[in-house]
């Protein structure tokens, strides 16, 4: 049994990343809500000249939430969880401390430059890999720094066996490194031709090959940014917050290696009925179905960890966020495989059902887990009691409502759109011109935007609650910090 005496963990870098998570969360999701409203009310495209069009802002949203909000959340939890489950303190190594700080600085600089370049239209257009090569290099740099931090801390650990969360952080690190390098292979044109913009590049791959590499990347970016590190979080924060032991080690093990093995093969489901060979598409389809089980494995393991602890689900809003989070994880990892079935994909691909699926996962799973993780960390980082439990409850219900509105409207929109595109009249000619299939979606776009706005209000409540905790939360004694359930002001 481990030593329960807490080490003097150094949370400096974790705190910095926590602030970054909140800041980028607000920016990224405000843009998300804005573009959602633009799809319902296109006049909103003209508020900021060329910088305010839907098409300039959409990449800003995706990059802001994936590489700003989610990645900050991942790093914040790493600099917290890493120390604790390896049982070493960052304070023990001035080298690792310096690496951590540099990691943060390079990272924030990169994201800020990303905002500026994307707004100016400097992009390579490949989804989730829009940044041009100078920024790709900066990403590589902060990724290497994160790797040094991971393996450095592991190198000086006191806990012999790596905890499950660490497996998932390692996997995220390695896989993203590989994906990032290969998908961003590009030739800077200025260095070949001597004229033009110095930051412009041209992809090393062309056409179908470029598509294959891109969706091998894109699909696994989902796996190793929106999934594995978030699983790392739930494996730490749910047992910790609830005080329950993880339900089954065997299930953790099989789910982990199953996920590692199967995920990479499924990228072909983004290219169904495209010009890649039929067998590659089929492979993507088949592996997507198999993928349900390793995905559900972790979620079930977490739900069973709560066995007999229903009461906590009612009394502790943090548990609510996490349990609903893993439920949404199950929803999106069932929905995804269904969309990967060829005949379903024929209908769903290119429609709004895809963004619907995306946000089941990102709002319900990624968002909720990061929100819960930051709430759990706050009292420990600042030795303050969480400012208001009531606000947490309000936030939870607002955001849950928001997600339901988001995905239900997009399901209907997507299926309507898909069916109208293929509908034919009695003569076998197309029934609808394209614009008919656009105007019919107006109500659903409006509902989605309202749902998004509810979620965003929740994000502001979250930021406010954490801010108030730091400013005016009750100071905690050491003993109060080392309990499982996060200390929170029960009556406020």
């Amino acid at each position: 049994m481990g030593n329960q005496n807490p080490l003097a963990y150094d949370y400096t870098v974790a705190k910095w990343f926590l602030w970054a998570t909140i800041a980028f969360g607000i920016i990224g999701m405000t843009v998300g809500v804005f573009i959602a409203f633009q799809m319902a009310f296109p006049e909103l495209n003209y508020l900021f000249g060329e910088y305010g069009t839907f098409s300039r802002l959409r990449p800003l949203h995706t990059n802001g939430v994936a590489f700003g909000f989610t990645m900050s959340g991942i790093f914040a939890t790493w600099y917290y969880v890493g120390q604790r489950v390896l049982k070493v303190s960052m304070a023990e190594s001035s080298f690792l401390m310096a690496v951590g700080k540099l990691h943060f600085i390079v990272y924030v600089l990169t994201i800020l430059l990303a905002v500026v370049t994307l707004l100016s239209g400097i992009t390579t257009s490949k989804e989730y890999a829009e940044l041009e090569w100078p920024l790709d290099l900066m990403v590589t740099l902060f990724w290497v720094l994160w790797g040094v931090s991971i393996f450095g801390l592991i190198g000086i650990r006191r806990e012999r066996t790596l905890y499950i969360s660490i497996w998932y952080y390692i996997a995220a690190f390695l896989a993203v490194a590989m994906l990032h390098v290969f998908n961003n292979m590009e030739v800077p044109t200025y260095f070949v031709a001597g004229v033009g913009d110095w930051y412009h590049s041209v992809s090393l791959y062309a056409g179908t090959n470029d598509a294959l590499v891109q969706w091998w990347y894109g699909h696994n970016a989902v796996a190793f940014v929106f999934t594995t590190p978030i699983v790392a979080m739930i494996y730490y924060f749910l047992p910790k917050e609830s005080g329950q032991a993880v339900y089954s080690y065997k299930l953790s093990l099989l789910s982990f290696w199953g996920l590692m093995f199967v995920y990479l093969w499924a990228g072909g489901h983004h290219l169904i009925y495209s010009t890649v060979p039929d067998w590659m598409q089929t492979m993507g389809s088949v592996f997507s179905i198999v993928l349900i089980l390793p995905s559900w494995g972790s979620a079930i393991n977490m739900l069973l960890t709560m066995k007999g602890e229903w009461e906590q689900l009612q009394s502790n809003p943090l548990i609510k966020f996490m349990v609903l989070g893993s439920t949404f994880y199950m929803l999106s990892t069932l929905e995804g495989p269904i969309q990967a079935i060829k005949s379903v994909n024929a209908l769903a691909h290119f429609t709004d059902w895809i963004p619907g699926h995306v946000h089941d996962g990102t709002l319900g799973w990624v968002g909720f887990m990061i929100i819960a993780a930051m709430y759990h960390m706050t009292p420990r980082l600042f030795k303050k009691e969480l400012y208001s439990k009531k606000l947490m409850e309000t936030q939870f219900w607002l955001q849950t409502m928001g997600i339901v509105l988001y995905f239900s409207s997009m399901w209907i929109a997507g299926i309507t759109q898909g069916m109208m595109w293929r509908a034919t009249d009695e003569f076998g000619n197309l029934s609808y011109s394209f614009i008919d299939t656009v105007t019919v979606l107006h109500p659903y776009y409006t509902i989605r935007a309202i749902g998004g706005a509810l979620y965003l209000i929740g994000i502001f409540i979250w930021a406010y609650n954490i801010y108030k905790t730091m400013k005016s939360g009750r100071e905690l004694e050491d003993a109060e910090v080392n309990v499982n359930k996060s200390p929170m002001a029960e009556n406020r």
């Binding site: 989804e127 497996w167 913009d197 056409g207 010009t275 290119f350 000619n429 394209f434 614009i435």
Partner: protein, 230 residues
């Protein structure tokens, strides 16, 4: 007994890496050479078209528009013949997109014309009531970045062997050549010659004047690109 790997971070990492990397090879490599061969009749982009393609990317039209026609009757009825792999041989990056908020544009050059695009990009609602596409008026006042387009032509020619200045066999057996000037000035002249043809079909007087003065507004390059999508 299962803990062997989990106590040895190095081997654990190697194990993870192996498991995640080999799927990629099988997924991508087998078709690599095959997919890079152009179909008969596929030409590289001219300088002006490439500059237009950069405008398309800069304004992220791919956020709403796909360029991939799937082999379903409803799609071939709406957009034209389904896409073939070799038609994308000169697309760096590919622009298939993943969401059709607007229609597919793979062959839009077949069924829309310069003057229609001019009206539509200036104000989509004026030609398509109910459209939710933004207007792109700034493309009428800002000039296209011809240098960067030229740099890309030179790069793809020298690094990837894209056949500029070489005869390319068309579907009907005739042959065509896409020019690449030996210097930027020379290529700019090619671009301007093409731009003049487009501007002649346009109505916006500022754009026409700009082209007459040897400048190329973004919209002219973009239309050259859209017209080339066939």
């Amino acid at each position: 007994m299962f803990h062997w790997l989990e106590e040895r971070p190095f081997f654990f990492a190697v194990g993870v890496f192996l498991v995640v990397s080999f799927a990629g090879l099988i997924e991508i490599l087998p078709n690599f050479a095959e997919a890079s061969r152009p179909t008969v009749g596929t030409k590289p982009y001219s300088g002006l078209q490439l500059a237009g393609r950069h405008v398309y990317i800069e304004d992220s039209c791919n956020a709403c528009h796909s360029q991939l026609i799937r082999p379903f009757k409803n799609e071939t009825d709406r957009y034209g013949m389904y896409s073939l792999s070799g038609e994308y041989a000169y697309d760096r990056p590919f622009l298939w997109g993943s969401k059709r908020t607007g229609p597919d544009l793979m062959r839009v050059g077949n069924y829309r014309t310069t003057d229609w695009h001019e009206n539509h990009m200036w104000d989509p609602l004026s030609v398509v009531p109910g459209s939710i596409m933004p207007a792109y008026k700034h493309q009428f006042t800002q000039n296209a970045d011809l240098e960067t387009a030229y740099a890309e032509m030179v790069t793809v020619q020298s690094v990837f062997g894209v056949p500029y200045n070489k005869p390319i066999t068309m579907k009907d057996g005739s042959s065509e050549t896409v020019k690449l000037g030996a210097s930027f000035e020379e290529e700019k002249a090619n671009m301007l010659a093409e731009a003049k043809l487009i501007a002649a079909d346009m109505k916006n007087q500022d754009v026409k004047d700009a082209v007459a003065n040897g400048e190329i507004p973004k919209i002219v390059a973009l239309i050259a690109y859209l017209n080339s999508l066939k």
